[in-house]
């Protein structure tokens, strides 16, 4: 994988619960295919799924950019949506602003951001109320087992 940077971009539709999780499945399949360590793939899948679901549950639409850099894996999820007024509060496990109909489906447990934090090595959130949110996660990886793509 020397010097080669691999990247992918996906669209995420807000409120599209039918396709929710598909982007994260693709991310997972790519990493699995490239031979990454299963525990690393698991961490990325959880973090990516939670970021994807936040867009589906809260935003109008968004994108997931995912890049395999020489030293790490980077996931950037950007959305056009309501934004997060108080990020510190939103990070608290159990805090959620999900509406009741979403909670009934088992979403909105208030675990999304904390699951991301637990599984990513770095988590950066920039949010503007009324405009949207950008979540960047960096996962420092054991190298691809096969060493190339």
């Amino acid at each position: 994988m020397e010097k080669k940077e691999l990247m992918w971009d996906y669209e995420i539709e807000g409120k599209d619960f039918r396709n929710a999780g598909r982007v994260s499945s693709k991310v997972k399949d790519i990493l699995k295919e490239l031979g990454f360590d299963p525990d690393f793939v698991r961490r990325v899948a959880i973090a990516s799924y939670e970021a994807e679901m936040n867009v589906v549950c809260h935003a109008d639409k968004g994108t997931l950019h995912f890049a395999i850099l020489p030293q790490a894996l980077q996931i950037v999820v950007k959305d056009r949506g309501p934004g997060i007024p108080d990020i510190e509060l939103a990070m608290q496990e159990g805090y959620s602003t999900a509406p009741p109909e979403i909670r009934e489906m088992g979403f909105g447990a208030g675990m999304g951001l904390s699951n991301m934090k637990k599984n990513a090595d770095e988590l950066h959130i920039v949010s503007t109320v009324g405009q949207g949110t950008v979540v960047e996660m960096v996962m420092r990886s054991p190298r691809s087992r096969q060493g190339s793509a």
């Binding site: 619960f17 039918r18 929710a20 999780g21 598909r22 994260s24 499945s25 997972k28 299963p38 698991r42 899948a45 959880i46 799924y49 939670e50 679901m53 489906m105 088992g106 979403f107 447990a109 675990m111 999304g112 699951n115 637990k118």
Partner: protein
């Protein structure tokens, strides 16, 4: 224990992925909160829930779960079954409530965190 043996022991009805019942079940998890399952289930687990919408298939796929048991007489949505067939995720149904499903799984030697 293989999934097919659990199906027999608990008299579960098979809703999807009938060709994938040979898998070894290595543990179990029970919850209806998707993020909780995402965070705490393990590969090879059987997942007991009452959620029958298509997103359960995404969770099972992402976490490599052995299968999903829908408790309390819940039935999967048609779309859930379709997704589960596509992804090869066995969905199994029972009239037993979650508590009793988990109790019986325990008796069969299927545990959560060991």
């Amino acid at each position: 224990m293989k999934l097919s043996e659990i199906i027999k022991e608990l008299a579960l009805t098979i809703q999807s992925a009938a060709g994938r019942l040979d898998r070894e079940v290595t543990g179990g998890y029970a919850s209806d909160l998707l993020s909780d399952v995402m965070a705490h289930s393990k590969e090879g687990d059987i997942w007991v829930t009452i959620q029958g919408h298509p997103n359960v298939v995404a969770i099972a796929t992402l976490r490599d779960l052995a299968g999903i048991i829908l408790a309390n007489g819940r039935q999967p949505d048609a779309e859930t079954v379709q997704r589960a067939e596509e992804e090869g995720v066995p969905i199994l149904c029972t009239l037993l409530p979650t508590f009793d499903v988990v109790g019986r799984l325990h008796r069969l030697g299927i545990h959560g965190k060991d």
